[in-house]
């Protein structure tokens, strides 16, 4: 795009054509105060604090946020007149404002407070009119304090423009104008809290943070959300070492789970001590007792039945470091390849072989977005948000496959109201022969005309659907896939080799690779590949698996049918943050530190390496997973001696080529995987286990396995939900 020259406060700068005056001022390093503007939103022009002077225009002042800059424009961002006008705007905003800063949770990070301070307003010349409206406590999670509202409309716009929910709106007019839901009913929305986040004042606040801390006493720790594969950057905000609030890192976005669901880790039922089974009962014990029992039992079972009768189920919520140590322990110390995660049952076929996700923040670079999973916004909320942003901000076209109705219908260019498999068949047909329904033809024409297309790949796929997607993509010039991935570190667990037939880095287990890894790890490795999760479960029923080590998963909670099977085990170790249904069956239960209490890395669905940083001390006696496993390994004669997660990551980098020079925040390239383009299928299927989708809340959006059920905040949502 061509540039234009704008002079701001005497400084000449080049900005792209189409920039607003505000953007030019920012580029020139001149700060213009704003209240109703946010880069995420369309310009609004309501608060009128961002006025500037433009040379040679008849109008004295011009709002900078809504006015396009023009070539050779000369702008002044401050003058006595401007200061007077801005002070007046602030003075007007304060007429009705309650000025209850001492009890307002926004104090210290409130734009109104900051500007009033900056512009040095003294006592008001206007009679205050504190038309006190009682705060609205009716909704779950979010409280509304209308008296503090400055009507900037940010909440209204973010919920509409970014979320496509449109829960807030303005009602009434003039000085009685205010924001409201339909008929002032309690919120019935996604509860993402984005409106609270963007509110410049304390009009929208959360119950979770209410009176918890003054904002200036909070310390932020950048980390990663542990609820879904999007891996949103979070900032854990702590006071005296305890998390008080969670916000988005780099002000991108958080869904309700990421923003409010973290409180599960503060739940009273957290495991705080190791437990062992004595006379059929689980009783507290010391770490030394617990670890010795595990080491002894595993050694005995190994020598009595052989290592192939021991297995391990890993976690898709622990760090890469935990997963790496877990599989290495099983392979080098226990000497078995019976290693897997149950989450592979809930994975699209073709993930990491055919489907490598594009970067989420590049969604809008695609001319057409084809959504093949109507639940995209519920399974991977950020993916859903990026779709809405692409449509609403960049005018991208959206083809939606949806046999029901949801928020994406509101923004879709074409809706194919049928099942995914039917839609795919119709599209392939329309693309090859031009035949089909009006909608399919329109969609096909859009796909054909597009330079590039993003395809949202369902979280689960039948073989037929898989083939159809490949057929479809084969007819299009450029396709980026966005497969949906449910759990936070599922990708990392695969990368780390928590699979029975692959070493870390997707090295297929064979003679050469075994020799390589035996050298790398300086260990004797099992000669055969192991059993996968489905086979292990089956093996238990057949008496072919005697001991199982489960790190951070709850099979019995997800599929009650597994309870009876797990009870058949001679020895079951469960390491978790809660006494889950599975842990209740264990012989030894080990308290693990949560992801807020430890450091390490996650790899999200984009294959982005992300740093998880410890924000609070592990609760009770709980410890990071890798430390626990390393101690057991030591007791069993293994030679692990990592001092920190950094040591582990260094080893991962030396073992997994894709991680070798991978910077934090970068995504590893698909070419780095030996499986790229291969026919390998990393998903599992079973017609008996985990057949049911576990929805632990009313909506998939509020559900994320078992941990989320311990979130107090998320738990309040259902009580307020009303059917319209």
């Amino acid at each position: 795009m061509p540039n234009m020259t704008v002079t701001v406060d005497g400084k000449k700068i080049e900005v792209p054509m189409g920039s607003t005056i505000l953007e030019a001022c920012t580029a020139a390093g001149s700060r213009v105060p704003t209240l109703c503007h946010d880069n995420k939103l369309h310009p609004f022009g309501a608060c009128r604090i961002c006025l500037v002077e433009v040379e040679g225009t008849p109008r004295k002042f011009t709002p900078s946020c809504t006015t396009p800059a023009t070539d050779n424009m000369v702008v002044k961002t401050t003058s006595p007149g401007l200061i007077e006008a801005r002070r007046m705007v602030l003075e007007l905003l304060l007429i009705k404002h309650p000025l209850d800063c001492p009890v307002c949770d926004k104090a210290g990070e409130c734009s109104l407070q900051d500007l009033v301070h900056e512009y040095g307003l003294g006592p008001s010349r206007f009679d205050p009119e504190k038309g006190y409206l009682p705060p609205d406590y009716e909704s779950a999670i979010i409280e509304r304090n209308i008296s503090r509202c400055i009507l900037c409309g940010k909440c209204v716009r973010i919920c509409d423009e970014q979320n496509a929910v449109g829960e807030w709106a303005f009602t009434r007019r003039g000085t009685r104008a205010r924001i409201s839901t339909d008929f002032d009913r309690p919120l019935d929305c996604e509860f993402c809290g984005e409106c609270v986040e963007i509110c410049p004042v304390g009009a929208l606040t959360t119950r979770q943070f209410k009176y918890k801390a003054r904002s200036w006493n909070l310390e932020g720790t950048a980390s990663v959300c542990n609820y879904c594969g999007c891996g949103c950057g979070v900032s854990y905000e702590t006071r005296e070492g305890r998390i008080m609030r969670v916000g988005p890192a780099r002000s991108n976005y958080l869904c309700t789970k990421g923003r409010f669901g973290w409180d599960a880790v503060h739940h009273a039922e957290r495991l705080t001590t190791p437990k062992m089974r004595v006379n059929g009962e689980l009783v507290d014990c010391t770490w030394d007792e617990a670890l010795s029992i595990i080491a002894t039992n595993l050694k005995v079972i190994k020598s009595r039945h052989g290592a192939e009768k021991i297995g391990g189920l890993g976690s898709v919520r622990t760090t890469n470091e935990d997963s790496y140590v877990f599989q290495k322990f099983l392979r080098t110390v226990v000497e078995t390849n019976n290693i897997d995660t149950l989450a592979r049952l809930k994975t699209p076929k073709g993930l990491n072989t055919t489907f490598f996700s594009g970067e989420l923040n590049k969604m809008a670079s695609h001319e057409v977005i084809l959504v093949l999973d109507k639940n995209v916004g519920e399974i991977n909320p950020l993916t859903g948000i990026e779709i809405v942003r692409a449509v609403n901000k960049k005018d991208r076209k959206l083809i939606l496959v949806n046999d029901e109705f949801n928020k994406f219908n509101k923004i879709a260019t074409v809706v194919l109201p049928t099942s995914t498999v039917n839609a795919l068949e119709n599209l392939v047909k329309a693309l090859s022969s031009g035949a089909g329904s009006e909608e399919s033809k329109r969609a096909a024409a859009m796909l054909k005309a597009a330079k590039n297309v993003a395809i949202i790949v369902p979280a689960q796929l039948s073989d037929n659907e898989f083939t159809l997607i490949r057929d479809l993509a084969g007819k299009l010039p450029e396709v980026t896939y966005y497969p949906l991935v449910r759990r936070s570190n599922f990708q990392g667990s695969l990368d780390m080799g928590v699979m029975p037939s692959y070493y870390p880095g997707y090295r297929k287990i064979d003679e050469t690779s075994t020799a390589d890894f035996a050298g790398l790890w300086n260990a004797v490795l099992p000669e055969t590949t192991g059993m996968n999760a489905v086979e292990m479960i089956k093996a238990i029923t057949q008496g072919k698996l005697a001991a199982l080590y489960i790190m951070g998963d709850d099979p019995a909670g997800s599929d009650p049918g597994l309870k009876g099977i797990l009870q058949k085990l001679e020895f079951l170790v469960v390491q978790d943050i809660f006494l889950t249904e599975t842990a209740k069956l264990a012989h030894v239960v080990l308290p693990a530190a949560s992801s807020t209490e430890k450091s390490g890395t996650f790899t999200n669905l984009e294959r982005r390496l992300q740093q998880v940083n410890k924000a609070e001390e592990p609760i009770g006696e709980s410890r990071p997973d890798w430390e626990i496993i390393q101690d057991i390994a030591k007791k069993m004669g293994g030679s692990m001696k990592y001092g920190s997660t950094r040591d582990i990551l260094a080893e991962i980098r030396s073992v997994v080529p894709a991680y070798k020079d991978l910077a934090f925040g970068a995504c590893w390239a698909r070419e780095k995987s030996p499986l790229a383009g291969m026919a390998d299928d990393l998903s599992l299927t079973s017609d008996s286990i985990m057949k049911q989708e576990v929805i632990t809340a009313e909506r998939l959006l509020f559900s994320s396995g078992m941990t989320i059920t311990r979130s107090h905040e998320i738990g309040t949502i259902r009580h307020y939900k009303i059917e319209v």
């Binding site: 006025l51 396009p68 007007l92």
Partner: protein
């Protein structure tokens, strides 16, 4: 003196039916326009120098010329008549709507054709029930006679025309708020650019014109731009509906050549002030214009002349202030209206106007404070053009700022004497 806009209007009688209207020469301009390319219609209107009668006085032909034309233009395109007329003291459109609905419809067809619009709306004030009824009837007749609908008069041009009754808010008259209202949204203005000509109703190219503007179109087409210019006594072409209200002998509305003077209007047409009342000032174009004073009686009532005198022609319907009416009470009444009608979008108007209203009320009630006048002045400045999101607020403070200018002693007396000097009269 020609009075093309009102020649068919018969006071206290039903308007002309389509047959009578045709007999009086009606709908000829439709035939004429449809026989030429739309661009030519635009050019004729541009050459006529017609300026918008909605208040701002923007050249109508120029406005039309911003609409993207031809096969590449986004469609449908819309033509909207602004008949919301809620400006205090203004009732000129009402006369045209009630008195000669076919004239308006004829104007709509020609205007819509000029911009190749396929859909037209008349956005009408909620309270104009009689006008709505008569328009509905006239539209029905126009459809029946193929002036509206598919293939008008056998040509390839088709137009659908509907009436939309406003929900009754002053801000609905502001053209972009009108478009929001028409879309079923909350009536708040939109940011400009994009201008409606490019992105208007439902994001499509749209022209919004005042009802009186549109009523002029058939006559311009029939008689040509030069005839139209000759109607006027000034640089601004055509005739204008002028109104006078207040304590004059014959408050009314007349169609007169553009450029008659304030004095002629008040003294000749309105018959002068009522006995016992003296002229103190006038707001010349509806409530949102600056006062003119006895010094301005010879100002011509056209766009440029009134602007030069420090006010605006606005709607051309004036409200006279007499010596027995308190100017503060007068302005307070207006500001109260504007404060109530503020849409609530932007800070200076939403929170500023109510507060202006409060100060004026307290001055009027004898509770004014020294310094109040300065605050009012400062605030009028803050509500100037550009400082607010739309033109409502700048318009609202025009009578106030000029009242302070011309009647400052009256403000000061209120404050000093702690009472309204007019109240005991």
């Amino acid at each position: 003196m020609e009075q093309p806009l009102t020649k068919n209007i018969r006071p206290d009688q039903e308007p002309l039916s389509v047959k009578d209207y045709e007999k009086a020469g009606g709908y000829q301009s439709v035939r004429k326009a449809l026989a030429m390319p739309p661009q030519d219609v635009q050019n004729i209107v541009k050459a006529s120098n017609l300026r918008g009668r909605g208040g701002a006085g923007f050249s109508t032909g120029m406005k039309w010329s911003f609409v993207p034309m031809g096969t590449d233009a986004r469609r449908p395109k819309y033509f909207v008549v602004n008949a919301d007329e809620m400006e205090p003291g203004t009732f000129k459109d009402r006369l045209l709507l009630e008195g000669d609905p076919h004239q308006l419809i004829e104007g709509v067809i020609v205007s819509a054709y000029a911009i190749e619009a396929e859909q037209a709306f008349i956005f009408i004030r909620w309270a104009y029930k009689l006008a709505t009824k008569r328009l509905e009837q006239a539209i029905k007749e126009a459809y029946a006679n193929n002036y509206l609908g598919k293939n008008i008069l056998g040509t390839t041009y088709s137009l659908d025309l509907r009436i939309h009754g406003s929900a009754g808010r002053y801000i609905c008259g502001e053209e972009t708020a009108l478009l929001n209202a028409l879309e079923g949204k909350r009536a708040t203005p939109r940011a400009k650019p994009p201008f409606p000509q490019v992105s208007g109703l439902f994001g499509k190219p749209t022209i919004v014109n005042n009802a009186e503007t549109v009523a002029n179109i058939p006559h311009i087409l029939n008689n040509g731009p030069d005839w139209f210019k000759d109607l006027s006594r000034s640089n601004d072409a055509g005739t204008k509906l002028y109104g006078v209200s207040g304590r004059v002998k014959k408050p009314a509305i007349w169609e007169l050549p553009m450029g008659v003077t304030v004095r002629e209007l008040i003294e000749e047409h309105a018959g002068g002030m009522q006995d016992g009342y003296a002229f103190r000032g006038v707001i010349p174009g509806g409530a949102s214009t600056d006062f003119l004073t006895p010094d301005h009686l010879d100002v011509k009532m056209d766009y440029d002349s009134v602007a030069k005198a420090g006010s605006r022609l606005g709607t051309g319907t004036m409200i006279v202030l007499d010596d027995k009416t308190c100017p503060i009470g007068f302005v307070h009444n207006l500001i109260k209206f504007f404060a109530r009608e503020s849409c609530g979008w932007c800070t200076p108007c939403r929170d500023g106007l109510p507060w202006l209203e409060k100060i004026l009320r307290s001055i009027e009630e004898g509770a004014g404070q020294p310094g109040d006048i300065e605050i009012l002045e400062q605030h009028c400045k803050l509500l100037g053009p550009g400082n607010t999101f739309c033109a409502l607020a700048p318009g609202a403070v025009e009578p106030l700022q000029s009242a302070i200018k011309y009647f400052r002693e009256d403000f000061e007396r209120h404050i000093k004497e702690k009472r309204c000097p007019w109240k005991i009269l």
